[in-house]
């Protein structure tokens, strides 16, 4: 039921969210999270790599878990892979629900898991050098909450 997408090219997060909202007029509440490449320091570009046999299936399983755990009217999960620049959207999660508590919890649950245990590898380009980003202890603390 959830709409789960792995995008390999830039996507229009506003249009995606508007379409999702229009598709769920009965929901009452929609919580969304939009993550963009930060405009900061010397980072010129960000690249996410994925492993096709696992990455999208993992996102779909995560969405199914959220749908089983909270009462949702709709769920949208879009994640970029590939080369991105500051300001580009990386991830958009939107959860529609009758009760806003469900929508908030589902969106945050999905973000915590996407950020920590989804099948992506990330590197940054700064001062002409690519550098792989290592996992962060903070991300693992985030998913321990659930």
């Amino acid at each position: 039921m959830a709409d789960v997408r792995l995008e390999l090219a830039p996507f229009d997060s506003g249009a995606a969210l508007a379409a999702f909202g229009a598709a769920h007029p009965q929901a009452g509440g929609i919580v969304s999270f939009l993550g963009q490449v930060r405009l900061e320091g010397e980072v010129e570009a960000l690249e996410l790599r994925h492993f096709a046999p696992l990455t999208l299936p993992g996102m779909e399983a995560l969405a199914a878990t959220a749908e089983a755990r909270w009462l949702l009217a709709g769920l949208l999960v879009i994640h970029r892979s590939g080369l991105m620049h500051p300001g580009d959207p990386i991830v958009l999660v939107a959860a529609a629900a009758r009760h806003r508590r469900d929508a908030f919890a589902a969106a945050e649950f999905i973000m915590d898991h996407l950020k920590s245990d989804s099948w992506f590898w990330k590197r940054e380009l700064a001062a002409g050098q690519w550098r792989w980003i290592e996992p962060r202890a903070e991300d693992h603390a985030d998913i321990a909450r659930w």
Partner: protein, 80 residues
Amino acid sequence: MAMLLFLGRLEDRAGAPQQVLALAGPTPLAGVLDRLPAELAAALVAPGVRMARNGTLVSPQGLVIDDGDELAFLPPVSGG
């Protein structure tokens, strides 16, 4: 021939995202690793590195690679 895939920082260690390896026949993981530079081989079995054969996560214990297989080495994810 088998295809080895190196994800994330393992790509830098290997010098390429993938490598083709000619196999004489079904080959245990240790036999595959013996064909690679020692430093790379060590990085591929470092703690936290997982393996997927033909797109499915597998345990390295008793793992045998056959002709036509794809073996991916997946270091700890950095997340989305």
